[in-house]
């Protein structure tokens, strides 16, 4: 893992270097516009001084402010032994000698974050909502993800990047403000000095362009860095636990019950495991704008990648698989890790989860949502593939096709009996023929492409022998391994 960390550090240094270039460039442009042609030196100096001041402020405050913002309550072993045990197990797997302090916030929205830039100063905060909803394995996967952030020193990295971003924004802001005030002053300056000074239109225009573009560019860089580190933490968590399905199902539970975090703050948002900002990540849109402006990668992509990792043929797990899964799901060749790092690390074998996952808290939310639907007059039709089809009361037709396997079920006035749904004569009608055949490689999660190009994921608990593509409607027959 050390090679991976070193490799990721190198890439992160590159992004930081780009940010620093933007900062210095902005300073130079501003300096040039005020006092050409040597003014750029003063501009750069000013920018660096401002950066140093902001960095000092950010690093000195460190952890306490973040914890106070989140209203975090320390948790000791007597109160929640499972959390502590799970953390210590992951510390062994991650080879982390210092145990982070554990906190809980009284928030019903499930989320978690890690903080701390020095090894013996780190902390993990988990919301009560998350503790209620996840079972032991899933909680362990979330803790592994947060520990990965600590091991990779992501908070220090994001703080540095954030400080640079803040400095750039501030510089740009100050400059734009001073521009509107500066015209009057420039006349006085010219009359005082012998010919130097005053504003020069060409440099001014350049500086204005820089001042407008720099904050945007810097923000994109900062967010790109944040997303890259999230993927890294996901991959590390899968490797520590040797059980990517745990993190995948934890993320799924987190995704379906987002809610609004009470102590929400745009500044602390990037550090959470799942973006607490509703508008940016609950949308399924893959538009470039959303992707670029998100602090976290899209949740379904993260889940798909993890599940793809889980379905590797002979249970061998390594970063190459994560990479391949990433490329397959996102369809891009933009790789978070380099091949050199992956070659160094080698493979580890995957673990198969225990079938019964005891829920640490009470809630059975799937049941709760269905309860609401049943109360609203929805009809529940169980299909033999495992799906429970929920038919709204306004549904007018006499039969409905299952969204997963495509078989037809008749919709009755009264609640249907199970035998009606399991009627073997209700097979896909002739106008829904089987277009593809897919042969299973294992009994776990697998993914394959429909003929229309859509990625389909095959669950181990699918009860039917066919799967309907949600995009084009074609039915693929599944043959067992």
């Amino acid at each position: 893992m050390w090679e991976l960390i070193r490799q990721n550090r190198r890439r992160s240094w590159l992004i930081l270097f780009c940010l620093a270039t933007v900062l210095v460039g902005l300073g130079a442009a501003i300096g040039l516009s005020i006092a050409p042609p040597d003014g750029w030196r003063w501009g750069v100096l000013g920018a660096l001084i401002l950066w140093a001041v902001m960095a000092a402020a950010a690093y000195s405050q460190g952890q306490n402010m973040v914890l106070r913002l989140a209203r975090a309550i320390p948790v000791n072993e007597d109160v929640h032994p499972v959390l502590h045990n799970v953390t210590e197990e992951m510390m062994l797997a991650a080879n982390l000698p210092h145990k982070p302090a554990l906190y809980v916030t009284d928030d019903s929205a499930p989320n978690a974050f890690a903080t701390g830039s020095r090894p013996n100063d780190s902390a993990i905060v988990i919301t009560a909502g998350l503790l209620q909803r996840l079972n032991r394995d899933e909680l362990q996967a979330v803790v592994a993800h947060e520990l990965a952030h600590i091991v990779n020193q992501d908070t220090k990295l994001m703080t540095t990047s954030g400080v640079m971003l803040g400095t750039i924004v501030m510089l740009s802001d100050m400059f734009m403000r001073s521009m509107w005030v500066g015209y009057g002053r420039s006349v006085r300056v010219r009359s005082r000095s012998t010919g130097k000074g005053g504003t020069h239109p060409a440099w001014m225009i350049l500086a204005v362009v820089f001042a407008v573009l720099a904050p945007l560019f810097a923000q994109l860089l900062h967010l790109a860095l944040s997303r890259q580190r999230e993927y890294l933490a996901d991959a590390c968590a899968a490797l520590y636990t040797r059980y990517p399905e745990a993190l995948a199902s934890a993320l799924e539970k987190l995704g379906s019950q987002r809610g609004q975090l009470h102590s929400l703050n745009r500044i602390t948002a990037p550090m959470y495991i799942v973006s607490p900002l509703r508008q940016l990540s609950q949308t399924k849109s893959r538009s470039l704008y959303r992707r670029l402006k998100g602090t976290h990668p899209p949740l379904e992509e993260r889940i798909s990648i993890l599940r793809d990792m889980a379905g590797v043929p002979n249970g061998e797990l390594n970063l190459r698989h994560f990479n391949r899964a990433y490329v397959k799901v996102t369809g891009t060749r933009h790789m978070p890790f380099s091949d050199l790092a992956i070659a160094d690390f080698g493979s580890v074998s995957i673990r198969h989860g225990k079938p019964d996952g005891t829920v640490v808290g009470e809630a059975n939310l799937h049941g709760e949502m269905d309860l609401v639907r049943a109360a609203s007059g929805f009809q529940m039709i169980p299909c033999h593939c495992g799906v429970r089809i929920k038919v709204p009361p306004s549904f007018a037709q006499s039969s409905i096709s299952c969204p997963r396997c495509g078989s037809y079920h008749s919709v009755h006035e009264v609640s249907p009996s199970d035998t009606a749904a399991l009627d073997p004569e209700l097979v896909p009608a002739p106008h829904q023929p089987v277009t593809n055949v897919y042969r299973r490689r294992s009994n776990g999660w697998e993914s394959f492409d429909c003929s229309c190009g859509r990625l389909m994921q095959l669950s181990p608990s699918l009860g039917a022998d066919r799967l309907r593509c949600p995009a084009c409607g074609a039915v693929t027959k599944i043959e067992s391994a």
């Binding site: 893992m1 050390w2 090679e3 032994p81 499972v82 045990n85 799970v86 210590e88 197990e89 992951m90 062994l92 797997a93 991650a94 080879n95 040797r242 160094d344 690390f345 080698g346 580890v348 019964d356």
Partner: protein, 187 residues
């Protein structure tokens, strides 16, 4: 002039070479220390399990006094494991202890009073966690061994390794399948 320049370049090259050798050597030393540290972590977790067992036996005795055979078996297995010295012996004895412990946890099924006892549920969580920790410590040990062995075998650090006598470490493989049976702590 040119001989002077060539001389400087030569010196620079030698310096670079020395620095590289030092860096590679330190990397090997660090890797070997990580392997040793990871091995001792396994020992720490095994000892933790040894320490939990007396408390467990006392708790179970209070409710299931007829099951003396199973309880004595686990106590005997524990003392055997604590006395084992060689690596092979230790791994064998710890495997037997796992099996005996599994039997004790399984027999608690038949005693609802025992299951309801808070002390017992706390111990049950601790023992599950300890078994997990032993597993993760072994996993970490194997990871460290892998990284160290990569350094020892791959070019160019293999040159340094063979010069200074670094050898590949052995990973912790389970010798036979019976030892890989994890006690099923189901309730």
């Amino acid at each position: 002039m040119t001989t002077q320049v060539i001389g400087y370049i030569f010196l620079g090259g030698v310096a670079l070479l020395i620095i590289t050798v030092i860096a590679l050597y330190n990397g090997l030393v660090g890797g070997r220390n990580q392997v040793r540290n990871a091995w001792s972590q396994i020992d720490v977790q095994l000892k933790r399990r040894h320490d939990l067992i007396p408390n467990l036996v006392e708790t179970v005795k209070g409710y299931a006094s007829h099951e003396s055979e199973t309880l004595e078996a686990v106590i005997a297995a524990r003392s055997n494991a604590m006395q084992a010295s060689t690596v092979a012996d230790k791994s064998a004895q710890e495997g037997l202890l796992s099996a005996a412990l599994g039997k004790v946890m399984a027999l608690a099924e038949a005693y609802p009073d025992l299951k309801a006892n808070q002390n017992f549920t706390g111990l049950q969580e601790e023992i599950t966690s300890t078994e997990n920790r032993i597993g993760f410590a072994r996993q970490n040990y194997n990871d460290q061994v892998l990284q160290f062995n990569n350094k020892v075998q791959m070019f160019p650090s293999n040159l340094i390794a063979s010069t200074f006598g670094f050898e590949t470490a052995e990973s912790f493989e389970l010798s036979d399948t019976s030892q890989s049976a994890v006690p099923a702590v189901k309730f």
